[in-house]
C-alpha cells in the first residue's frame, strides 16, 4: 500500500473534495459542512463527485447477507466455551502453587473459617435486605405495566416492515436507536415471552433480549 500521506492544505477545491465522502455520510461538523456546501454551489466537478459517492454509498450499504439469530446464538456459545475453558485453565494454573504455599501455614485454616462465617452472615443480611426493601420507582411510575426488551433490527429492514413487526407484537419503541442500532421496546408484561419468541423467529431481527431479566424471565 502507498503509505504517503497527501498534504490537504491548499485550494478550497482540494480540501472540499477530500471531505466529500463524509458530507455524503452526514458526519461533517457544521463548520466543515458549511465550507463544502459553499464550494459545491459553484463546482460542477464536485457536484458530479457527490453523485458518484452517493451511488457508491447506496451500493456499499447494501447487505445481501443477513445474520440470523441462530447464527449469533451459535457464535455466542462457541465463544462462551472458549472463555469457560480459559477460566478453568486459569484456576488450574493458579491454584496448585498458591494453595500449596499458603496451605503449609497452620493459622490459614482458622482465617479461612472466620472469613467463611463473615461471608455467610453478610449473605444472610443481604437476602433479608433485598426481601424487605421496596423497589425504587419514580413517583409517577405505574405498577409494572410492561416489560422492556432490547432489540436490534437488521440494518436494512424497511420502516414499513419494522412497523408491521411492532404492531403484530403489540410493542412500542421507548428508546433508541443507539449508536449500535439498538432499540428498547415496551411490551405488555403478560405477553413478554410470546413477543420475545415471535421477534426472535421473525426475519430481520438480529437480537432480542430482556432488559429487566428478573421480571420477564
Amino acid at each position: 500500500m502507498n503509505g504517503r500521506v497527501l498534504p490537504f492544505e491548499g485550494s478550497a477545491h482540494v480540501e472540499a473534495d477530500r471531505l466529500l465522502p463524509w458530507l455524503v455520510n452526514g458526519t461533517l461538523c457544521d463548520e466543515e459542512r458549511g465550507l463544502v456546501e459553499q464550494h459545491l454551489v459553484d463546482c460542477a466537478q464536485c457536484q458530479r463527485e457527490v453523485e458518484w459517492l452517493r451511488a457508491l454509498q447506496a451500493q456499499a450499504a447494501c447487505d445481501d447477507k443477513t445474520t440470523d439469530a441462530a447464527d449469533t446464538h451459535q457464535a455466542v456459545q462457541r465463544l462462551r466455551r472458549r472463555i469457560d475453558a480459559e477460566r478453568v485453565g486459569r484456576r488450574v494454573e493458579v491454584r496448585p502453587a498458591g494453595w500449596r504455599r499458603w496451605g503449609r501455614r497452620p493459622w490459614v485454616k482458622g482465617v479461612i473459617a472466620a472469613q467463611a462465617a463473615i461471608i455467610l452472615m453478610l449473605g444472610i443480611a443481604l437476602i433479608h435486605d433485598s426481601r424487605t426493601a421496596a423497589a425504587y420507582r419514580t413517583l409517577g411510575a405505574a405498577a409494572v405495566p410492561d416489560t422492556r426488551l432490547v432489540v436490534v433490527f437488521d440494518p436494512h429492514l424497511s420502516e414499513a416492515q419494522m412497523r408491521r413487526l411492532l404492531r403484530a407484537s403489540d410493542a412500542r419503541i421507548v428508546d433508541g436507536p443507539t449508536d449500535a442500532g439498538v432499540y428498547v421496546l415496551s411490551v405488555p408484561s403478560t405477553q413478554t415471552k410470546a413477543v420475545r419468541e415471535a421477534l426472535r423467529a421473525a426475519p430481520g431481527v438480529s437480537l432480542v433480549e430482556g432488559l429487566d431479566s428478573d421480571r420477564e424471565r
Binding site: 500500500m1 502507498n2 500521506v5 497527501l6 498534504p7 490537504f8 477530500r18 471531505l19 465522502p21 463524509w22 455524503v24 455520510n25 452526514g26 458526519t27 461533517l28 458518484w52 457508491l56 454509498q57 451500493q59 456499499a60 450499504a61 447494501c62 447487505d63 445481501d64 447477507k65 443477513t66 445474520t67 447464527d71 449469533t72 457464535a75 455466542v76 462457541r78 465463544l79 462462551r80 472458549r82 472463555i83 423497589a135 425504587y136 419514580t138 409517577g140 411510575a141 432490547v150 436490534v152 437488521d154 440494518p155 421507548v174 428508546d175 433508541g176 443507539t178 449508536d179 449500535a180 442500532g181 439498538v182 428498547v184 438480529s206 437480537l207 433480549e209 432488559l211 429487566d212 431479566s213
Partner: protein, 196 residues
C-alpha cells in the same frame, strides 16, 4: 433518574437507554450475561466488517471470536475517551490485520465470485445485484486498509475523526486512503464498463 437493579440501564425523563459503556463495565467485572448481550449487539456488523476487510469468509468466525475475546479480556482498559463502538471496531481492525499478516494473505481479485456468472436480465433487482457485484469485485482490488476506510465510512457511517481513532492513524491518513480508494475504484469500474 432511575437505575435498574442491574445498574446497566438509565432513564432520563422517563425514557430508557441502553448504556453500552455500563454494559462494558459489567463485562469488565466478568459478567457473562452482559458479554453475551454485547456480543449479540455487535455480531452482525463485526461479521460484515471482518468479511469485507479479509474477503475470506472462512476466516470470519475465528477473527470475530479473537476480537470479542480481546473485548472480554480488555474491557477494564476502556477509558471512555471514545465511543464503545469505536473502541470495539479498533480491536476488530487490529485483529483482522493480524489475521491477514499471519496468513500472509493478499486476497486476489480472481478469488471473488465471477460477476459474469450472474445472468443479466431486465429485472431491476438483478441489475442492482450485478452492480453490487461489480463494486464488490472493484473493492477486491483495494488493500484491506482501503476497504476498511470505505466500509467504516459508507456502511458503518463513522466520521473521519472516528475512523482515525479506529485505525490509530492521523486524520490526513484516513483522507489519503479514501482518496486513493476512490480513485482506484473509479479506474476499475471504468475498465469494467469498457469491457462489457
Amino acid at each position: 433518574m432511575l437505575i435498574t437493579q442491574t445498574g446497566t440501564y438509565k432513564t432520563r425523563g422517563g425514557a430508557t437507554a441502553l448504556d453500552e459503556a455500563a454494559l462494558l463495565e459489567r463485562v469488565a467485572a466478568e459478567e457473562m450475561d452482559a458479554f453475551e448481550t454485547l456480543y449479540r449487539v455487535y455480531h452482525p456488523r463485526l461479521k460484515r466488517f471482518i468479511e469485507r476487510m479479509t474477503r475470506q469468509p472462512a476466516w470470519v468466525d475465528e477473527v470475530l471470536d479473537d476480537t470479542m475475546l480481546v473485548v472480554w479480556r480488555k474491557a477494564h482498559t476502556y477509558n471512555h475517551d471514545s465511543k464503545v463502538s469505536t473502541w470495539i471496531f479498533a480491536i476488530a481492525y487490529r485483529q483482522t490485520l493480524k489475521a491477514l499478516k499471519r496468513r500472509d494473505a493478499v486476497p486476489e481479485f480472481g478469488q471473488v465470485e465471477d460477476a459474469s456468472a450472474v445472468a443479466p436480465g431486465p429485472d431491476v433487482e438483478l441489475q442492482q445485484h450485478e452492480l453490487r457485484q461489480y463494486l464488490d469485485d472493484a473493492l477486491g482490488t483495494l488493500s484491506a486498509e482501503h476497504r476498511a476506510v470505505i466500509e467504516l465510512t459508507y456502511y458503518l457511517g463513522y466520521a473521519c475523526r472516528e475512523i482515525a481513532d479506529i485505525l490509530d492513524c492521523p486524520v490526513d491518513t484516513v483522507k489519503t486512503r479514501m482518496f486513493y480508494a476512490r480513485r482506484k475504484l473509479k479506474v476499475v469500474l471504468a475498465a469494467r464498463r469498457e469491457a462489457i
